[in-house]
Every structure is written in structure tokens, then in C-alpha cells.
Symmetry: C2
Subunit: 208 residues, 2 copies
């Protein structure tokens, strides 16, 4: 959440007096929305309840979030934690790190709220959710696969976008539907299969 | 649905009089439940509404389905159509057919109802849903992958259960979340990658 809501305020000095926008209030509001989403779902979410549970004034909430879709998508993004990623010059190592980050960013409670969003017909909500929650990690994964491909390190002949959808879909299915999250060994096994193998064991000095 | 609800009555002769259990009534009830699930979700489903929309008496509904979870899981199963599968002695061809069947059996409306079920805490519902909707096609796919493996036709070294979860999860993600269903060429590309290649083109008579 910090990266999403804190960027604009980084350069500001501490303000000992007056009424600065309070990150603690934002956090309380997002926590309240998350609890209400989990309990009642999107269609049962009321701004009055958000104000009551968070203790924030409705005017404060509306000043920060212009609509319920903004508020809900920010809430789900915050629940997924930091998804920033710094690429290195080793696309295969990056691929493992991206996959681990994706698996760690989805958790059962966030997914329940996310699955609820996917049932809603509201266009603004779907569009914001897609732009903010779905596309950035998906693009990161596709780009990393393309970097591996450009470096001649991708063994798989499946299109990188289709590979990314298999990986993301598999992780979501395992957590949200089967309730047995993917583990590190399973991530490694899948990545070992789609990237070019290292030198055969016999050619490595001193190792059979 | 026919295979699930009609099996017991196959041997019975037509009954011109009396009050036989009417498959048309069952179908009307399942259609009503499906429409209500889509509109209101599981938590908004009321047996009174099912009776009103379907025109069936509540006693009729309770005689056929002992609980709401039974009724809802039967409804979702019916919306997915026939998922019976007859294996042949060609596990690779079977693998393609199973994957095509899986992709065809999930559709946007069924998935919306299914995603709603996954949000419910009700244990009976989750258990029935898993036994009836999730596990049979998953087991079929795993078994087919194992048959290909036993025949020496599986190139992939990823565990068959993990492969199955990638394939199913990828298909669900593409339809339910990205709204761009997997197409036949994409299924073929993925299966070509996980199974052993046919003979190289140069060794086939008359073909370069």
C-alpha cells in the first residue's frame, strides 16, 4: 500500500500542526473496507458502514476516494502488499522471483474479495480492477518471459502470454479453489521445465 | 444433467397415468435456481423464490433435493452440461479431447455462480461442490496424463497433478478473469509441449 498511497507525500516535511492527510486514517478506512467486503461482499458495502467501522468522517473518505470502485480496488491492492519489482540482468532468476512474488501476493482473503469483484457487472469497478490489480503483475511476468526468450533461455514454445496465464491461473486455482497453495518446489519444477536447462551435469567440472 | 438425474429411471416404462416424477419439473427448478443464483447469489437464494419462479411446489422441491447445497450443486452441474468421457487406447488424443471438454464445460454464467460458491463458508456446500463439480474432471485429466506417462508419451517432468492444475487454472483464469477464453490452437500448443513429439518430419515418408 505504501507505494500506492505514499508516493505524493514523500517530499513533504512532517507537519506538527494543522490537519494533514493522515496515513493512519487511510489505513483504518482500507482495513474497514476489507473487513466489510469479506463479511458482506461488494453489493452489501455501504459508505455509512465504512465510516462507522473506521471512525473516519464520510467527507474524509469521499475527499480521498471519489467512488466506491476506487476505494474497493485500493483496498484489494493494499491487501496484496508490495508488488514492485526491480529487474536484474538474469531473466531466469527474475522469473523465479516474479513467480514467488505473485504466489505470495495472493492470499485467501484477498482472493475472496477479488472473486466477488469478478461477479459484479459495474463497468468502472471491473476496469479499475483490471488496470490496477490484474494487468501490472501479468505484464511483468510476460515481459520477464520475453526477456528470457530474447536471451535464448526460453525452452518453451508456448506463447509467453499464454504461459503467463497458465502460471497465474494455476496459482489462483490452487489457492482459491483447491485451497492448497503452490509451494516453492512446484514453482521451481515448472520454471525448470519452461527455461533452457543449464549445462548437462557431465560437462560441469568435478560433478558427475 | 441427463446422465446425473436420469440413470435410475432408464428401465422404467412410460407411465401414462398417476403422478410420476417429472423431468420437466426438475429442469424448470434447476433453471429457476440458476437464474436466481446469477441475479442474487447464493446468500440471496430463497426456496420461496425457487418455487415461485419455477412454478413447482416447495414439497416437490424438498422431496427431490434435501438441502439447498444439493440443489445448488445440481444446478451448477447441469449448467456445465455432459462431462462424461470414454477413454480410448490413445492417451494423447484423449488428452486433447479432455482439455477441449473442460474448456467447453466452463462458461461465463456457470463460473459466476461457481465463484460465488467459493466465497461461502458453508461446509456442506463446499464439500458437495468439490466432490461433484471439481474433482471428477480433475481426476479424469490427471488419470489421462498418467496414462500418457505410463505409455512413455509424456515429455513434461512436472508432476501430473500439478500439470492438471495449471491447465484447469489457466482455462478458468482466461474465462472468468480475463474474459478471453482459451481457443483450440492454444490448447494444441500447450499439449504439443507436454507430450512427446511425433517422429521428426524428415523421417515421415514423402514429407519433408
Amino acid at each position: 500500500m505504501s507505494s500506492a498511497t505514499g508516493a505524493k507525500r514523500e517530499a513533504e516535511p512532517p507537519m506538527p500542526t494543522g490537519r494533514p492527510r493522515d496515513p493512519e486514517v487511510e489505513k483504518r478506512v482500507l482495513n474497514a473496507v476489507f473487513a466489510l467486503l469479506t463479511e458482506k461482499g461488494y453489493s452489501g458495502l455501504r459508505i455509512d458502514d465504512v465510516a462507522r467501522v473506521s471512525g473516519a468522517a464520510k467527507t474524509t473518505i469521499y475527499r480521498r476516494w471519489s467512488s466506491l470502485p476506487h476505494l474497493v480496488v485500493d483496498t484489494i491492492a493494499a491487501s496484496m502488499g508490495n508488488r514492485d519489482f526491480a529487474a536484474t540482468d538474469d531473466p531466469v532468476a527474475d522469473l523465479r522471483r516474479v513467480c514467488v512474488m505473485l504466489v505470495e501476493s495472493i492470499n485467501a482473503d484477498s482472493l475472496a474479495a477479488a472473486l466477488d469483484v469478478h461477479r459484479q457487472p459495474e463497468e468502472e469497478l471491473r476496469t479499475r480492477y483490471r488496470q490496477r490489480i490484474i494487468e501490472p503483475p501479468r505484464k511483468l511476468l510476460v515481459d520477464t518471459l520475453l526477456r528470457a526468450k530474447d536471451a535464448g533461455l526460453l525452452r518453451s514454445r508456448v506463447a509467453p502470454t499464454d504461459l503467463a496465464d497458465l502460471l497465474i491461473g494455476g496459482a489462483i486455482y490452487r489457492l482459491a479453489i483447491l485451497h492448497t497453495p503452490v509451494d516453492a518446489a512446484q514453482i521451481d519444477a515448472v520454471i525448470d521445465e519452461i527455461v533452457v536447462a543449464g549445462p548437462p551435469a557431465a560437462t560441469v567440472d568435478g560433478v558427475q
